[in-house]
Amino acid sequence: MTAEATTTDERDPAAARLLDAWRTPTGWRYWTAVNNSEVGLWYVVASFTFFLFGGILALLMRIQLAVPENDFLTADQYHQVFTMHGSVMMFLFAVPILEAISILLLPEMLGARDLPFPRLSAYGFWCFLIGGIFVCGSIFFGVAPEGGWFMYPPMTTEYQTGVGVDIWLLGLSFIEVASIAAAVELIVGVLKCRPPGMRLNLIPLYAWYILVVAVMILFAFPPLIAGDLLMELERSLDWPFFDASRGGDPMLWQHLFWIFGHPEVYIVFLPSVALLAMIVPTFARAPMVGYGWIVLAAVGTGFLSFGLWVHHMFTTGLPAISIGIFSAASQAVAIPTGIQLFCFIATLLVGRVTKSVCLLFTLGGLATFIVGGLTGVMVAVAPFDYQAHDTYFIVGHLHYVLIGGTIFPIVAGVYYYYPAVTGKQLSERLGRYAFWMMLIGFNVSFFPMHFSGLLGMPRRVYTYQPELEVGTLNLISTIGAFVLAAGFLVFLWDVLRPKSKQPLAPRNVWNAGTLEWLAEVPDKPWGVRSIPIVETRYPLWDQEQFVQDVDEGRFFLPGADEGKRETLVTSVVDAEPIQCLRVPGPTFLTHFAAVFTGGVFILSTFHWYVAAGISGVLAVATILVWLWTGTAWIPEKHEKDVGRGVTLPIYVSGSRAVGWWAMFITMLGDMTAFISLVFGYFFYWTIQEDFPPQDSTGPGWIWPIAALLAITLVWSAVMAARQFNRQNRGSMFYGALVCGIALSLTGGWALLMGPATHAMDPTSHVYPAIVWVLVIWTTLHVVVGIVMQLYCAARRMAGKMTARYDADIVNVTLYWHFIFLTTLITCLVIAGFPMVAR
């Protein structure tokens, strides 16, 4: 490595400077790295470690169920184990692994040097790691959650009083926040960090899928976070959201959970299909057939998946008409899935197939997944679901979907991308052993479950009686599970075995056509020597002299003249270059921010609210330092020559800037959580004859109107401040912000005064409770808005924001657009709706 670096230095000083700018820190400082190659790799390793942990839990369950009336685990131990198995696999493996692989590979596929917010990825990773260890660790102290991964109240609110449920709610909320952070990063990455010329119709299919999935995460996770919030409030403050005796309803949780939970299935499944969409054309030696169809199908699946959640609730006594509608919608999702599968098959038919372990896992995955898809169609048929629901049939079905649709493709992806990441190839021979053991073990384990379910074995039982006559089937399942596990061990050995003596793989070892295979062997930290102009979907196949031009720096940003880390930002549709973006380098700030954020959630679990509050203040302070030192740098010159005669601005603000997009996308997620709470309000209205209750006064209309007025003025003040800053009228700018802050305080206070002055006791009934939640949610956002206004004032004072370089105030204005909307909706709901309803 060193020798090579020296020769590069002598031969090409531009390359040397580029290498220097992107150099990975060494020694213990290695852990301060924020570049996607390092963070992505850690993320992948951590997710796989959690996967192995979840797998061991699965084996414990299979041992317990191997024979009837076994006493290997007690009932409570078993319940902790199955709860953790589901939660770990879903929240600590399935979602994070897709984000991990995307952070690792997406920039490479887009010819970008990094994602737009490297420190945000790093922060997300450290949050994930801390939260994951916290949640998993609980099982070693016997206090793990035991409410199932679906946590249905009132069992989890009134009957499980231990710390387990809190660990689940707070620990996983913490991780969900990190997932949303990664989603924001990936959406902006796909939309804004593509290479010049890569118009929307040329994007690698993987990036399309990730875009769809990240948008799904953005809209699916917030309802769950809203549900977590309501449940935690019921548990710690006795606000009766799910308590039927005080007007609440346990079904609200089920709706919020499954509005998240069903898209979750596709959030897990689509990225794996995305991997297959990269693997199949490479081994078929042909471009993907039906690119447009696949994109449409992926988008369609994403949309449809939000309209299916009720099929998890077919047995809750819903009317036949809604069951019919959701039954039909659930069937409909099979069609886009079918299109994607047939596009893959068509591509293989057109091309000349090269056989490899990757393809073996692809095919095995498809064959398995199709079984799961067909049983999925069966359970989507409501009458059959009345029998199959909550039995081992569903356990069989969902594992065929998730292992066939997710695990096999991910293993295929590991075999495929391992050489690009490490420079060494995995063994085809060991791969074949692993494949057959996994395929056979999997089917032996999970196929019999369909029958044990229909023979009457419900899910989530820690034991079963011998007269049920499912003992043999369960023993077979257990044996299969161990064969499957052995297959994984072979795979794991292949990945981890020392390979220092093994020769390096050739560059682009599979002869693929997409940009990530520009990676040199061994890989260089700069990603690509120069950011190419892309004209086709498979530039390595179709564009002449492409690799040579990239390597010799004939495209964009071949050097780093100022020694800064830079990448290109392009326009959303046509990928015209619009900015040379400077991204920040290694730091410890992200670690501190993650630890303190984690502190808020973890300390709250144990009801140490003072410590949690201190941790929260520290987290905010750290994040402010991070923003202050690491974002919106004023460059030494306005523009920069990025090569090929193109000159681009270094600093942009508004809708051309990645920061603006991140704010916009984050606030969409934030609004989704808020709308979920509003949904709760109207849900109570639909199920109760008397809502808002006749004898309740409500928050009145005076205070809400006053609050709305104040917040509207803040909103105007912030917009005025943006304008004054642009006109460089300093005193007017500060004046507007001072007014804004004063009015924010007034508005927040007025919001709280509504319910406070009307004796609305949130523990007495669900009506005051939900009003309080809406008000507190809005007030907290106003408080954050105050901090943002102070931040902007300080930035200008310190000379870090000027009339020309105004990203801070522009983004804060965008935030206030959303806060105005939030306040408007809150006031209309709490003050306006009771007038209409009566």
């Binding site: 009837p68 409570d76 319940h79 199932g148 249905y152 009132p154 069992m155 009134e158 009957y159 005796s245 039906g290 169809w293 199908a297 047995t315 006594g317 009317p319 036949a320 069951i323 039954s327 039909a328 069609i335 079918g338 299109i339 994607q340 599968l341 047939f342 596009c343 893959f344 098959i345 068509a346 591509t347 293989l348 038919l349 057109v350 091309g351 000349r352 056989k355 393809l359 498809l366 199709i370 049983t375 069966m378 048929v381 409501a382 009458p383 059959f384 679901d385 009345y386 029998q387 629901h389 909550d390 039995t391 023979l455 009457g456 419900p458 989530r460 039982v461 820690y462 079963y464 007269e467």
Partner: protein, 315 residues
């Protein structure tokens, strides 16, 4: 230890003994048949595409994508929906108003069962349901604590029991016999042992059973049973259990008025016999973890014998 078997009862959805269950098994068989055919075609095509050297014409494959991916699934799924959703109205239609109604409450981890007699009285029993054959019956279901799910696989589908709501389920048993019902929604510690016995019987037999159930508990006549009844009172059992005709009126635990007529104990955890009844009283949590009833380990041999003798004559 050799496992102990309760009566030979059916708990299989594939061995239907009711109208709903039979329809659903037919549906299942059709879907499995169709599924196998589809799987063979798609997987066969995939294997073919890999094994056979390619180079097929792109136009052909476009037809494949549109036909196989969109047209065929649309047609197949639409027909399936028509067939299956046509079953829904009948499955959901309330039974005739003169059909028997059974009210069942899920309680952690047992079942409170209430019948209406012809003279309008409510008869309570627990963990056992008897039904007349060839008659529709309506269940009114709710829960007294967490969410449970009421499922008798041999007779038909399941419906959840939700606190604060009443859900309904119609079943139509067509075969005399013994069946097993279970809780299908995870409800905490003893979820695996929350089961119940279902007996489908001819109408006259059912009437006899119901009239026996509607009577008060019989007075003990034997010496030890009399003493057992007294102990039952003195040890406070009546705080949780009802025995109609005595001053035991507790509502926390199952009604024991006709305990001896039931075939199992502990919500179908163990067969109802002397040995198991003794064990239940003294080692409750060993038999069924999590149960709220305290184990009466402090009772001496003779006290247990007496209580068991009392309970065993409650036919």
């Amino acid at each position: 230890m050799r496992p102990e078997l309760i009566d030979d009862v059916s708990q299989s959805a594939l061995d239907p003994a009711g109208v709903g269950a039979t329809q659903i098994v037919d549906l299942f068989h059709w879907m499995v048949g169709g599924g196998v055919v589809i799987w063979l075609i798609v997987v066969g095509l995939s294997v073919y595409s890999i094994v056979v050297p390619g180079g097929h014409r792109p136009r052909l494959t476009k037809t494949l994508v549109i036909g196989g991916g969109a047209v065929v699934p649309t047609v197949v799924l639409s027909s399936l929906l028509c067939y299956a959703l046509a079953m829904l109205p009948e499955l959901h239609r309330p039974p005739p108003s003169d059909s028997p109604t059974v009210k069942v409450n899920g309680v952690r981890w047992w079942w409170r069962v209430q019948y209406q007699t012809d003279d309008g009285r409510t008869i309570e029993t627990a963990n056992e349901i008897r039904l007349p054959v060839d008659e529709a019956v309506e269940f009114k279901l709710t829960s007294e604590d967490v969410i449970h799910s009421f499922w008798i696989p041999s007779l038909g589908g399941k419906v959840d029991m939700i606190p604060g709501r009443e859900t309904r389920l119609k079943l139509y048993p067509t075969r005399v016999g013994k069946f097993r019902g279970v809780c299908a929604e995870y409800c905490g510690t003893a979820h695996a042992q929350m089961r119940f016995d279902v007996t489908v019987m001819p109408r006259p037999e059912f009437n006899r059973w119901l009239s026996n159930q509607s009577s008060d508990a019989r007075e003990p006549s034997q010496q030890s049973a009399i003493r057992g009844g007294e102990l039952f009172r003195r040890k406070g059992c009546g705080a949780c259990h009802t025995i109609r005709g005595t001053d035991a009126r507790g509502r926390v635990g199952p009604d024991l008025t006709h305990l001896a007529s039931r075939s199992s104990l502990g919500a179908a955890t163990k067969p109802n016999n002397t040995e198991n009844l003794r064990h239940w009283i003294t080692h409750t949590h060993h038999v069924k973890p999590g149960v709220t009833m305290p184990a009466f380990q402090a009772l001496d041999e003779r006290e247990v014998d007496a209580i068991v003798a009392y309970l065993e004559q409650l036919h």
